[in-house]
Every structure is written in C-alpha cells, then in structure tokens.
Symmetry: C2
Subunit: 419 residues, 2 copies
C-alpha cells in the first residue's frame, strides 16, 4: 500500500472507531492513562536509547543547540511525561457533561451535552513529549488521535508511541484509538490534510512556517496560532518594582516561546523613571533593545531604532521593542493593531484602568499585574495542552480537554410535531 | 472607488468599530432593537413597495413559484420580522457572561468571560427576513455585521436595511455597526471572503451550491451546513401511531427545508404493520417513495427502487427514501454513514434504546419521539438564528447569540512571574 492509501485507511478506520470510542466510560480511559504512565517509566532505558539516535542525527546535521536541547530525553523528562498523563487522568472526564437544559412551551426537553470531536490530527515538530501529552488528552476526551511528528524526533516518537500503544493492550480500548504516521515524507501531511470527511480538526504545533503550511493546505478546520507578539504595558499608575519584575520575567525567563513578551509599552509619565533602570537590567541579561524615538532619548545608549516592522515581529529571541505611549487608549490601540491577539498584560494599581484594558484588548489572554508567560495549559490547570489558539472560533487560549470536545443537542419528546 | 476597494474599506472600518461595539452595554443595544422593530412597522408601505419590484423582476425572470413565495413581503411578514427583533431584545445579553473562574495555587485568578466575535459576514439568498434577523442577532451580541443578500431580493434588502440603519441614528451606536453590500456582482462575495484579517466568521445561508462556493473561496472560517439528510427511525418498540404522525410531519409539513426528513428507517419486526399504512398516507400527500427491496415487497405498489445515491440525497421535495433495517445498530450505522449529521430521530418507548440512539448518533440534534422539524433557532428558544451548523467546531445546531460570541481569559495577578 502506498503512503497516500495508508493514510486514507488510517483516517477511515479512525472515523469508524471514533463512534465507539465516544461511548467508552471514564474508568476505562483512566485505566489506560495509568498503564501508559507506568509503561513510560518502565521503558525509560529503551526510549532514551532510541532518543540517542535522534540526537546523533541532529548533531550530524548541525541542528541548532536550542533545537537539540528540546529533543533530548532523560529520566527526568520521561518522568514528567508520565506525570502529565497522570494529571490528565485525574481531571474530570468532559464527555457527557450536561451543559444546559432547555424546556420549551411545547414540552420538548433540549439537553446540550458535551461529546468528543471524533478524530483529531496533530502535526508537530521536535519535542517528543508532545507525543504523550496529546495521546493522553485525546484519549481522555474520547477522541481518536492521529499524530505526525517531526522527522528530527522520529526515533523518539516511534519509541514513545510504541510503548503507549502496547499499554492499551491491557484495556478494552482498541489499540488504533491512537495512531502515529511514521513516514518522514512531508507529503504525508498533505495527504492527511485532504481528508475532511474523516478528520474533524487539525492542530499544528511548531514554528510559523509549519503552521502556515498546514493552514494553507488543509481542507480540515485548523486550530492554531501563527505567532505570539505579546505586550506588557506599564501604566503611570503601575507599581514600578512589580513592572520591573514582570518585564524581566516576560522577556528573559524563556525568550523562545510564544507567550514571551516582544514589545514593552510604557506610559510617558513614568518612562523617564522606569526605562533606564529596566533597560540596564535587560541589557545585562543580553537583551537587544529597539526603541521608539522617545525611548532612545530616555535610555540614551545601546538602543537601536525600532522600525514599523518591529512592532509586529515575533523575535523568539533576546530582542525587545520598546515604545513610549501617551495614554491607555494608545497602548490598547497599539496592541490591537500590531499584536497577535495572544497574551498581553497591563501593570497598574488603578482598578478602572485595569478593567478598561481587560475589556478593550482583543486577545485570548489579558493579564493584570502578572507575566504573560502564564498562558499555558498546565499553568491554567488543564493538565497539559494540545496547543494554544489565537483563533476566535471554537477555542481561544490554551487548548486541552474541553477544546477537544463539541456538543450535541439531545431532544426528548412525547410525539411532538411541528405545526 | 471600485467594488473591491469599497469592500476592503467596509471591512477595515468594521474591524476598527468592533473594538468599540464590544463595549456597548445591553441597554443601548436593546434601545436600538426596539427602534428598529418600530421602524419596520412604520415603514411597512415603503418596504412592500420596494419588495414589489423584486417580485416583478422574479416573475419576469420566471423564477420558480416556491422561490417567489419566499420573497414576498406583506403586513404579516413584516410584523413577524419586527416581532423577532423584539424577541432578540428580550434575550439576555451574552456579552460579559462569566463562564468560569479558575483560582490557581500561585494566587492567579483566571476568569473566562464571553465576548463578541468581532465582525460577522452573512451571505444569503432570497428571504428578506434574514436581513433583519441577522442584523438583530449580531447587534445584540456586540458584533459588527456585513450582509450580502441575493440579487433576487435586492430592492427588499436595501429597503429593510435602510430602515434599520436609520433607526440606529436615534441611539449612540454608530450606523456602520451594520453594513449591507449593495452590489449584486458575485465578485463582491469573493472580495469579502479574502479579508481574513478583518472578518472573524462567515455564515452562508442558502442552497448547497452557494455554501460550497463560499466554503471553497473563503480564507475566513465558515460556519455552515451543506445539507440536511435527516432520518426518522421507527423501532420495533415504537408507538406506531406516534411514529405515523412524526413521519408525516417530518416529511410533508414543509419538505423544502433542511430539517425535513429525507430517509425513513423501519425495524423489520414492525415494517409489515407500519409501512403500508404510512405509505398510503404519504402517497395521498403527494410523496414519491423510493424503497429498499424489502420495502418494495411490503408496500407492493408505487414504490420506486432506491439506489445507493438515494441514501445520501437531500431531496428538499416530496420524495422519501425508505429502508427496512434489522436492528438499532444497523439504523445507527446507516445514519452515521449516509446522513449529514444534522437532525435525526428515533421513535421508541424503550428507554435504553433511546439512550443508545442519543449517544451513538453523531448529529447536531438527536431526537427521541419528536419530529426533526424542530431544529430551528426560534423553536429552541434562541429568538432567531443566523444559520444551522453541522460543523463540530465552535457551534453545532442552530446558531444564534451564543454562537456569535467567543471568550477571552482575564487573568488577575499581584505581580506573579513564572519560575
């Protein structure tokens, strides 16, 4: 069977099985998650051995060290993967939740009930832990999963997946409730994205290039964020020590992720007090600054000129654009115009201003007095995440169990007909 | 300005205004809906005069009588449009609803709050009441609307829209919170569908051809149903009188709509008792029957042979396909395989069987002992509807106020940073 036919068969079988998996109870799904977590730990040596093959290939191919760091598996990382499966196990099963009951004058009872989406496709890069996180979340939410990982992690993904799949044998859940496309041919992704009849949603996880490729080629609905151009706005009513700590954390703690800050906005009345100190600290941490004319004037040294392009750039690096604004309104306008509607924060002690920022900033996650770095399924208490959405339809922000469900209406009558 | 530039400007302005409209309170939106309802009634004579132009053109162009009937406006239909706006006015404002509060161990409070989508595009055919229904629902849910009606209703739509827009003048809501594309050039639709940056969702309402055109050309997410291939399954545990009434209602009461039945499934143990009587009644109502071999054997006369294509055909007409099945499982399998996941019903007095049908049928609306004809925003108590969705993402079934919203996370901290 050629690759296209293989993937078609996988998706067709997944659709068929999805009707059955939707009916499996929480207890059996939880048993599966427990067996899977145990199996990861038991097969640690094997997984690390396979992972080493990926690492060697990555080194031979001169991949960037940051990428290699993401690839590496060790005892601690495998334990964390197992722990995440157990966290997911402990969460409430979303399937069957009664969301609303409507009683109509004609006696009809309309129940809105949460159900699985059906078949979920996940296309991702490098990090092998995505394999177990997504298998766990899809299974718990009653969805058949089809995974396609990056070729740089192929040995690791196959090893992890094989261990998880074998663990399913101890349960009543069919093994093909979870699927991995083992081909490293990118055509495999294209073939999958054609199958709108059999796959309900695609979640791409990775760099902007991968996500654009998926969005452009997919006939299946895609949930995604292209990038995270996140802002921190320091108001004239801010506690400047707090603003300092949040600025440093949002930029420096892990600059390569989507919820890190890319642009700092500062109200003109505190710019002269706030900017020189924080700029000094940022530069000490190796951050390159790109400022508006007023910022350059205030900070004096070591600030490049920010171009218009900077305001909408996701650096994913130790680079920060800085702009001094005249008002809360201007800050909000800047964020809505240049941002990516991902995660944006205000630092202020003024409640009315905080409320206005919360309401007017059109982003998935809007923060008052906290770092943007908290936008994350685990940090939100969702166990893990299959991705983060800046789309407005279906799911916004971290996507986990709830985001993997839809609902149906169950309508109970006594023979009602329409007149 | 050429057509493409006009539509681009309309969409850009809509996006900008959407940030303001999201902040308008319920009281002001309700005042607008009241003024609009009053204005429709006050301008009845004018609207009917304009409508007459569409009717005359339709007659000159030899449109089908059913289409012309949909187009006609009279006192009663205009009163119903006004009434629908008042119904929408009375419904709770969905914007600002607190959906969930999560408190994290680190002291962060995460609030999930309902907010408008932003800019909603609606592309529809013939019925002029869609204009006022959709204007009302979008406004109440805080969305800027961009409407594009069919060319056969252009005079009616322009008249209704003009009256509604003028009514907005009495409020603080800017008039361009509602927009109508007046061009009858189909290129206008294509131009709109390109503007993913400015429009959040597109809802097409009309025939399958229009919907496929929109889905194929849109870069904006589309919420839709292509067709309604709805089933009624008469179990061996059915009250056959009830089954008879539901069968007749679901097929005959209004055959041209998406929630009408297209296929009747009957359990083999009751087929000989049920089918001859119901077939007689259906034929009396002018229904053409297309049956499986067993159906043909039982009913004997006047049943054409159903082909495989019949099982997935939406007739939208007085035609019904009929199949005798061996079991509940076979009925469920037939519906999930050939149906359109819209609305499907079982008639049974056996509770366990009803539950199995409700859980296993993968459709937006699943009925027990009621006609499929109730799938409708008004019948569900949603005031009206902008459409019905058989998609699984975002909204399923009738789409009204809630379906026109998304949510955001508002996160309140005291200076938390991530470690």
């Amino acid at each position: 069977m050629n690759l296209q036919a293989q993937i078609l068969k996988m998706a067709k079988d997944a659709r068929k099985l999805s009707y059955k998996l939707a009916l499996v109870d929480a207890q059996e799904k939880n048993r599966a998650l427990k067996f899977m977590a145990d199996a990861l730990v038991e097969n640690q040596a094997y997984i690390i051995r396979e992972n080493t093959k990926d690492i060697k290939a990555a080194q031979a191919n001169h991949l960037a060290q940051a990428l290699i760091d993401r690839l590496v598996l060790n005892d601690k990382r495998i334990a964390a993967m197992a722990e995440s499966l157990l966290e997911t196990m402990k969460l409430k099963d979303p399937v069957g939740e009664l969301l609303e009951t409507i009683t109509r004058p004609n006696g009809l009872t309309i129940k809105k009930v949460r159900v699985p989406l059906g078949v979920v496709g996940i296309i991702y890069e490098s990090r092998p832990n995505v394999t177990s996180d997504c298998v766990g979340l899809c299974l718990k939410s009653g969805n058949v999963s089809i995974l396609k990982g990056g070729k740089e992690a192929i040995f690791s993904n196959k090893a992890i997946f094989g261990v998880l799949k074998k663990a399913l044998k101890k349960t009543k859940i069919p093994q093909n409730a979870i699927n991995l496309i083992e081909s490293t041919d990118r055509a495999a992704v294209k073939y999958l994205l054609e199958l709108e009849e059999y796959v309900d949603v695609i979640v791409p996880r990775g760099g902007e290039e991968l996500i654009r490729f998926v969005a452009e080629h997919s006939k299946i609905p895609v949930i995604k964020h292209y990038k995270g151009v996140c802002h921190v706005y320091v108001s004239e009513h801010a506690d400047l020590n707090m603003a300092h700590a949040i600025t440093i954390n949002a930029k420096v703690q892990r600059p390569g992720v989507c919820n890190a800050m890319e642009t700092l906005l500062v109200h003109k009345d505190v710019a002269a007090r706030f900017l020189p100190v924080v700029a000094h600290e940022l530069k000490k941490s190796g951050v390159e600054l790109r400022g508006c004319p007023i910022t350059k004037k205030i900070v004096k040294q070591g600030v490049k000129k920010a171009t218009k392009k900077d305001w909408s750039t996701e650096y994913l690096d130790l680079i920060l654009s800085v702009r001094v604004v005249n008002s809360l309104g201007q800050a909000i306008e800047h964020i809505n115009h240049y941002g990516s509607h991902h995660s944006d924060a205000i630092v202020t002690d003024e409640k009315g201003e905080a409320q206005e920022f919360l309401k007017a900033v059109d982003s998935a996650c809007v923060y008052v007095n906290a770092s943007t770095r908290f936008t994350d399924g685990y940090e939100f208490g969702f166990g893990a995440e299959v991705g983060i959405s800046t789309d407005k339809l279906h799911v916004r922000g971290p996507m986990a169990l709830e985001g993997l469900t839809t609902y149906k209406y169950e309508i109970l009558g006594k023979g009602q007909t329409r007149s």
